[in-house]
C-alpha cells in the first residue's frame, strides 16, 4: 500500500551507487520491488535489496529520479508503494548459482541471504564492483568478473557463469542485470538444459498490474513478473530486442 517512510540510513556502495534503508511494515519476499516516490520529481520501480522489517533499495544514479534520490539523507522522507511482483521461487534443495550484473546484484541479496547460494558478481571494472562483502557474509563461494580485467576474472559475468556451470553441478541459475547479460545467460541455460529465473525490467507506470505499460509480449513485468523462468523467457519475442517507451511505442534495446 501507499506509505511515507523515513530513511534510517544511507550507505555508499560505490562512486555512483547508494543503499537507502527504511522501516516498512508488511512482508516482502526476495525479488519483489517497490514504487519509490521522490516528491516533485518522479516515482520509479526499485527492487528491494533487503526484505525484513528494515527494508532497503540500492540505487545507481543514472537518471533524474535516481540522482534526486542520491541527494536524500538520513531522516528524509520518501513515498513507498508495494511490495509488488512475484519474487523468486526456489526450493531448499536447489543448488543455485546466482549471477548479478552491475547494480542487479542488489536485487539478489535477499535470495543469497536466504539460500547462501554461490554467486557470480559482474561489473565493468573494479570501481563498479558492489556488495561483494555483503555477499560474502552469506555465500561461501563468491566470484567476481570485470570486463576490463581490473579485478579478479577478466571477462563478463556470462563467461564466468559458463565456467562455473561446467565445474560444478547446479540445478538453477538466478540472475538479475542488464538485459543483454540476461539474454546470453538465458541462451546458455536453455542450451545446457539448466532451469533459470531472471528478474526483468521495463518502463512502468502503475506497478500494480493495471495499465499494461510494462508488458513484454503481453506479460506484465509488475504483476506476472518481474521474475520469469527459463520456459517463459524462451517464449518472449521481445526479450533482448524490444522495449516500450512511456507512450507504448516500440524501441530497440
Amino acid at each position: 500500500m501507499n506509505d511515507i517512510v523515513k530513511i534510517t540510513s544511507v550507505k555508499k556502495e560505490s562512486a555512483d551507487t547508494k543503499t537507502f534503508e527504511f522501516k516498512m511494515d508488511g512482508k516482502a519476499t526476495a525479488g519483489q520491488f517497490v514504487m519509490v516516490w521522490i516528491p516533485g520529481v518522479d516515482e520509479i520501480p526499485m527492487s528491494l535489496s533487503s526484505t525484513g522489517e528494515t527494508k532497503s533499495i540500492t540505487v545507481k544514479a543514472i537518471g533524474e529520479a535516481t540522482k534526486a534520490l542520491h541527494e536524500l539523507k538520513k531522516n528524509d522522507n520518501i513515498g513507498i508503494r508495494g511490495p509488488y511482483g512475484n519474487g523468486f521461487k526456489t526450493k531448499k534443495k536447489d543448488r543455485i548459482l546466482v549471477v548479478g550484473g552491475g547494480v542487479g546484484i542488489a536485487a539478489l541479496i535477499p535470495l543469497i541471504r536466504e539460500t547462501g547460494a554461490d554467486t557470480v558478481i559482474g561489473a565493468r571494472n573494479k570501481k563498479e564492483v558492489i556488495m561483494e562483502d555483503e555477499t560474502k557474509k552469506y555465500s561461501k563461494n563468491v566470484w567476481v568478473s570485470t570486463d576490463d580485467g581490473s579485478y579478479e576474472y577478466h571477462g563478463n559475468a556470462v563467461q564466468l557463469m559458463k565456467e562455473k556451470l561446467a565445474a560444478k553441478k547446479y540445478d538453477m541459475v538466478v540472475a538479475c542485470g542488464p538485459e543483454v547479460m540476461l539474454y546470453y545467460a538465458h541462451k546458455e541455460c536453455a542450451e545446457l538444459g539448466i532451469e533459470c529465473q531472471m528478474s526483468l525490467e521495463r518502463y512502468m507506470k502503475c506497478g500494480a498490474g493495471l495499465c499494461g505499460s510494462c508488458v513484454i509480449d503481453g506479460m506484465r513485468i509488475c504483476e506476472d513478473g518481474p521474475v520469469f523462468d527459463c520456459k517463459q523467457i524462451s517464449k518472449l519475442k521481445e526479450f533482448g530486442k524490444i522495449k516500450r517507451d512511456p507512450s507504448g511505442a516500440k524501441v530497440s534495446l
Partner: protein, 300 residues
C-alpha cells in the same frame, strides 16, 4: 446457443464482458492475451493523432476501495498503433477507443481504426485528467452531438460514446449521443478525485488530480446506467467497479447489454473466466434464458 451471447445493436458478442479502455490494451499481445482469458471483446487504450508519454509518475495510487490514476492518455499515436491492431484483431473483437480535441480529429481517428479492423469505435468523451480532451468536451451537449454525428458520417462500424459521471446532465448527454445517431452509450468513466500527502503537503499525483476507479465506483455506475436506461432507447454498456459476476449482473439488470471490467484485472487476470462461469450459473438457477432477458430487469 451460448447462454452468454449478447448483442449491442448489430455487434454480436459470445460473452458480455469486455476489457475497459486503459487496462492491458496498449499492445497487440496483451489484448490477445485478454481475449484468450475469456474477455468477449477488448477496448483499446485511448489512441490519439500523435504520440503522448502521459503524465510523469506518480500517476497511480492504491486505496482499499479502488485506484486513483492520472495516466494522461499515453499512447504511441495512431500510425504506430496499426501494428498492435493487426495482432489484436486476429484474436477477437476489438473496439477502438480514440480521443481528440475536435469532431474532425475524432472522425479521422475513427476512420483509421476502421481500416485497422476495429469492430466498433468508442469515443473517449470522459477522461478526467488530460487538458483539452475527454471530459472537457464530453460535458458539452452540443459538442457531443457534433462529435458523434461527424464520426457517424465517416465510418460504417458502430460508434459508442463513453461518458463521464462528473456531471449532473448525464441523461442529456446520453440523449445527444442518441440523437446524433450513436449506436451505444458506455458509462461510466472514472470519478474526478485527489489524494494529498500530509507529510509533503502536496497532492500525490503529479497531475494533482486524477480519476477514481474500482469498487467504490460501482453504485454510482449502476445508478448512471439505470438512469440512462430510463432516458434512452440505444444499447448501454456498463462499466465501473465490476469485480464479480454479481456486480456484472447488477449492471445488466440496471439496463446494460454488455459490461466492461478494468481495475479488477490488476489482482486477477482470470477475472473474465470467473465472471462468465458465475453469470452462467446464476442465469441457469434463476431461469434467464439469455442476457437479453436480464437487461433492465430491475426496471420492471
Amino acid at each position: 446457443m451460448s447462454l452468454l451471447r449478447t448483442c449491442i445493436g448489430n455487434l454480436e458478442l459470445e460473452r458480455p464482458g469486455m476489457v475497459a479502455s486503459g487496462i492491458m490494451d496498449e499492445t497487440g499481445d496483451s489484448m490477445m492475451r485478454m481475449i484468450k482469458l475469456g474477455a468477449g471483446a477488448v477496448v483499446t487504450k485511448s489512441v490519439g493523432s500523435v504520440k503522448r508519454d502521459g503524465h510523469v509518475n506518480p500517476s497511480f495510487i492504491e486505496f482499499p476501495f479502488g485506484y486513483l490514476n492520472a495516466m494522461g492518455l499515453p499512447n504511441p499515436g495512431i500510425d504506430d498503433f496499426k501494428d498492435e491492431m493487426m495482432i489484436a484483431t486476429k484474436a477477437g473483437t476489438i473496439i477502438a477507443s480514440v480521443f481528440a480535441s475536435s469532431p474532425k480529429e475524432f472522425s479521422s481517428l475513427a476512420e483509421r481504426m476502421e481500416i485497422f479492423g476495429a469492430s466498433a469505435v468508442e469515443l473517449n468523451l470522459s477522461c478526467p485528467h488530460a487538458k483539452g480532451y475527454g471530459i472537457e468536451m464530453g460535458t458539452d451537449v452540443k459538442m457531443v452531438h457534433k462529435i458523434v454525428s461527424t464520426v457517424k458520417n465517416t465510418v460504417k462500424i458502430p460508434v459508442y460514446a463513453k461518458l463521464t459521471p462528473n456531471t449532473h446532465i448525464l441523461a442529456d448527454i446520453g440523449k445527444a449521443v442518441q440523437d446524433a445517431g450513436g449506436d451505444a452509450v458506455v458509462a461510466i468513466n472514472t470519478l474526478k478525485a485527489m489524494s494529498i500527502s500530509p507529510e509533503f503537503a502536496m497532492p500525490v499525483l503529479s497531475n494533482r488530480f486524477g480519476g477514481l476507479s474500482g469498487p467504490a465506483l460501482r453504485p454510482i455506475g449502476v445508478r448512471a446506467i439505470y438512469d440512462l436506461r430510463s432516458a434512452l432507447e440505444i444499447p448501454l454498456i456498463g462499466v465501473g467497479g465490476i469485480c464479480s459476476w454479481r456486480d456484472a449482473a447488477e449492471y445488466i439488470m440496471a439496463g446494460a447489454s454488455a459490461f466492461q471490467v478494468g481495475s479488477a484485472i490488476a489482482s486477477d487476470i482470470n477475472i473474465f473466466k470467473k465472471i462468465n462461469k458465475g453469470l452462467e450459473c446464476f442465469m441457469k438457477e434463476f431461469g434467464y434464458s439469455s442476457i437479453e432477458k436480464m437487461v433492465g430487469a430491475a426496471h420492471e
